[in-house]
Amino acid sequence: MHLLIQAIILGVLTGGLYALMTSGLTLTFGTMRIINMAQGVFVVCGAYIAYTLFTYFTIDPFLSILISTPLMFAIGVTLQRFLLRPIRYDAHRLSLLMTWAMAIGIEGILSFVFGTDFRGIVTSYQNTSLTLFGYQFPLVRVLAFVLSLVVLVGMYLVLSRTKFGRAVRAVSQRESAAKLLGVNTDRTAALAFGVGAATAGAAGAMFGLVGSFDPASHYDLIGRLLAICVLGGLGSNAGAITGAVVLALSESLVQAELSPEWSSLPFYILLVVVLIVRPQGLFGVRSRGAI
């Protein structure tokens, strides 16, 4: 029983981090109807920014988010403006290729600048754990989980309570109607892509704290992030959170209780079942405007 609860704790904490990583992907799909294959490499970028700030300027990874988030936002807006906007006439088909090209290009730049060694952000509290009723709560995972919640709640408030949020929702529901109502859809799409990249920047700092990474780490990441999105329902924030927790929890439980060799299997079986029974995902809707 102790092991089961410990595995659940670790799974839920890891799930929070995955949810943060996935939220940007969800936002981008919700507003622009494109699947951003570069979301994984944005996370890795965030990890390298945090690594650089920590290693050379001794800025704590949690504080570094104040720098990495706006930086990644600017990178996201720039990429959207110069690489995605020109292909908007056929975004559904071309965006997959374009964002994948972005991912490979950014990986190349990271390899050139940082080299291809595995890196880790080793802070003084890296291995600290909080003990509660005999269960271990690794501090970095707890902090990453809390940060994820803060960012996700913040995103929810922005989307539901602000003019920008209304514009995003309008664009996601029907772009042509939003345009007629005076929404600058190009600007909204660029900002949404920037916000997606910014969340990846924040998640990247946490990703670098909980494990080692190299420029090629995004290949593993993007597969998981897409699977989470599909399970939860593309474009749905609640779906992203649910999918992330289900993935991390199932992996942790199977690792601990059955065998690490089979740790990914239950999630993907569930994914297939959901796609058969409910193709739009757990929280997805068939019409637009899931955000």
Partner: protein, 409 residues
């Protein structure tokens, strides 16, 4: 007339095809060794991907050897010209790289990459074309189980035999000091998992009870669940079948879950004197064991000169030299030994010569069986006061082993 020309061309076509095909046969592709130009050597190295940290160390060893031998006039008067290609730690890419070296670049020789996973795939390609495959960093059991006649491992011991030094040490302890229970979390890798499994078999035969034995896939990003399970069984000893990044993750998870086994042996990871302390924290390395074929202080003939030359060329300190650099340097030494012994440097001579006799290298005396498996053993190292220290066998030990493992700081 025109028809006859066409017929003649048509008749020539199969002959040309046969000729082209013949160029791909082993006898004609493998170098005769009689050329007087530079001695070209193709080597695939893992500059990116899972093995990139150690892959680069492999490249440094090769480069050091080439620069030294060239400064002394080359091999049989031929300057050594190394050609590297990145394999991204991929068994598919490594095959492409060696295909290119042999069929496109027509190099004289090929040397091995890093890891058993890549060595096996690459050695098969070399064998197909009749190339000798001398390598220093692929000694997992699957490499030798392939029974390739062209393969020679320039390390003193196979992975399984090498890691048996941990078994030798544990079973040399008085019964009341030996661990009673053991856990074996291992990476799904042709080096790591079989090495841990061989130790498990030996320990079980000696009465040490197995309480956990599982293999995790390479793409596992979090080992929290694995270590939670290991911790729940509370073993006296953990034998981790690990490589670099997953080894660091295991240590981190153990610390986070406040699990401190009395004995912690890891097949790979701790032998890297730079990356291991950097990624797990130097203070956390204390008392962790690993086995290796080389360390900067090992009493092996030529080792001091190797260490000095390495630092002169690449900088750093002796303790920062990765043993993989010494292993790949030894590959070059083996080739030099063939040239000195036979006056020839062609692939067939290398294969036939190195399968007999023994050769002094910077990693010790190397002697292999018919499938290139080395017959010697490794030594046991332990992180003590921030330094990787030889602790067993006692004849070459720099310090007595410290057991049980101290608590995490």
């Amino acid at each position: 007339m025109r028809t006859r020309t066409r017929l003649a061309r048509a008749a020539l076509l199969p002959i040309v095809c046969l000729g082209v095909a013949a160029c791909g046969t082993p006898a004609s592709v493998a170098s005769s060794g009689t050329t007087k130009g530079p001695l070209t050597i193709g080597i695939s190295v893992s500059l990116t991907g899972d093995f990139s940290n150690t892959g680069k160390a492999a490249q440094l060893g090769y480069e050091l050897w080439a620069s030294q031998v060239n400064a002394k006039g080359g091999v049989l008067g031929r300057q050594v010209q190394l050609s590297f290609a990145d394999d991204a730690s991929s068994p598919t890419q490594v095959v492409t790289n060696y295909q290119n070296f042999i069929t496109r670049d027509k190099v004289d020789l090929v040397f091995g990459p890093y890891s058993s996973l890549l060595t096996l795939a690459a050695a098969k390609v070399a064998n197909r074309y009749g190339y000798a495959f001398v390598e220093g960093a692929g000694n997992g059991p699957s490499v030798f189980a392939a029974k390739l006649p062209n393969l020679i491992d320039a390390g003193p011991a196979t992975a399984i035999n090498g890691a048996q030094v941990w078994g030798d040490y544990i079973l040399s302890l008085p019964a009341d000091q030996r661990p009673k229970t053991a856990a074996y979390p291992s990476l799904d890798d042709p080096f790591s998992a079989p090495t841990a499994a061989a130790l498990q078999k030996r320990f079980e035969a000696a009465g040490i009870k197995t309480v956990y034995s599982q293999i995790y896939p390479a793409e596992t990003t979090s080992l929290g669940g694995v270590i939670a399970k290991v911790a729940s069984t509370n073993p006296d000893m953990v034998v981790s079948g690990s490589q670099d990044a997953d080894g660091w993750a295991q240590v981190q998870a153990m610390i986070q879950q406040k699990f401190n086994p009395k004995f912690l042996f890891m097949t790979n990871g701790p032998e890297n004197p730079v990356d291991f302390p950097k990624n797990v924290g130097l203070a956390n390395t204390e008392g962790i064991f690993t086995s290796d074929v080389w360390t900067y202080s090992a009493p092996i003939p030529g080792n001091t000169a190797f260490v000095s030359a390495y630092i002169a060329k690449f900088g750093g300190t002796p303790a920062q030299i990765d043993s993989t650099s010494a292993e790949t340097y030894a590959v070059g030494q083996m080739i030099q030994a063939v040239a000195a012994k036979t006056g020839k440097i062609d692939n067939q001579t290398i294969i036939s010569t190195l399968h007999q006799g023994s050769y002094q290298t910077v990693v010790g005396v190397v002697s292999v069986d018919q499938y290139g498996a080395p017959k010697g053993s490794q030594f046991l190292e332990e992180w003590l006061s921030g330094t990787l220290t030889i602790v067993y066998p006692s004849a070459i030990a720099e310090h007595a082993p410290v057991i049980p493992k101290p608590s995490w700081p």
